[in-house]
Symmetry: C2
Subunit: 190 residues, 2 copies
């Protein structure tokens, strides 16, 4: 199994459910890049159709891997050297297929997953035997547009706390940085 991640800025939804393109957030790239590197994911794709934002990702990566940032923090360089911006999830799948020689198993995540088709432990076990690349998608804004979730091969359950600790009041608003870290840990953690 070879793990790839994508942080999706389009198509996402706003709080009203309208399909939008969200803006790049620097700390997402840093945090999810560091988490990806810690858990052995090969690459983090930043998915945005906005060419200016793609350029911003490239400049951020350059700053930390070849520019001034490198002398400040080489651990950051290692994490960011695995980050690439691409215009769409389809382009990410093509890039992985070209690089690895097989199309990825596409995995959707959402805090509002109505119909997950795996359990966390079941999918963790399945990954241990999976041949070929896996691509996990993380949404920004108020989440990925339903077409992306419905088009994925696997939908992971929402991340919630242990119900035996008492009834939850339904508050479930992790940052995408926290959700990505927890997802990696649930699937690949010790």
């Amino acid at each position: 199994m070879r793990m790839f991640l994508a942080l999706v800025h389009h198509p996402c939804v706003d709080r009203g459910g309208n399909v939008i393109t969200t803006a790049l957030t620097n700390v997402d790239v840093h945090d999810i890049g560091r988490s990806a590197r810690t858990y052995g994911a090969e690459r983090l794709f930043i998915v945005t159709p906005v060419t200016l934002q793609q350029t911003m990702v490239a400049e951020m990566v350059h700053h930390w891997t070849e520019g001034e940032g490198l002398t400040r923090n080489d651990r950051r360089a290692e994490a960011l050297s695995r980050v690439t911006a691409l215009p769409s999830v389809a382009a990410v799948c093509e890039a992985i297929a070209e690089h690895v020689g097989a199309a990825p198993l596409v995995v959707a995540t959402s805090a509002r997953m109505d119909a997950p088709d795996v359990t966390w432990s079941g999918f963790r076990e399945r990954l241990r035997h999976h041949q070929g690349p896996v691509l996990i998608l993380f949404g920004t804004g108020w989440g990925m547009a339903s077409e992306l979730v419905e088009g994925a091969d696997v939908c992971l359950p929402a991340i919630v706390r242990d119900p035996s600790l008492g009834s939850s009041d339904g508050y479930n608003h992790l940052s995408v940085r926290a959700a990505a870290a927890i997802t990696l840990d649930r699937l690949l953690g010790a």
Copy 2:
């Protein structure tokens, strides 16, 4: 069991191991506040002896819970309404003892934990039967000063990926936002 969190800005160490006070980082407060709320922790304490930074925390909380931010995002208000700045870990322990009527079990976390005295699953199980408050400490900068780690009641293991996935190259540099999210999930997640 009643869960409390502290994000420690002093005493921490820099990359050279010198004891320092780190600066407040807004996104830490937001992310760890949201993770705390999602997993049912009662309060997030921001530990800094710098009164100006304590004031900044109070202003941030006010902005989101009573000021302009409230109209923008009431989920953020709910998370930030549980955030308080205090000058030291000792002051946090006193505040919890006063509020709950018992001193907390103090739990240290570190990416470089040499001598953990519990396993994750063992401590998760222990929490299910624990009476009274629990306080988990998260360091900033290059981690908490050793006096804090050594003074804690429990030292959790470092967060690492599953070794059965292949030998790790030792890269283990999660952001404190990611580490706090994973810690909460390992102890309180479904």
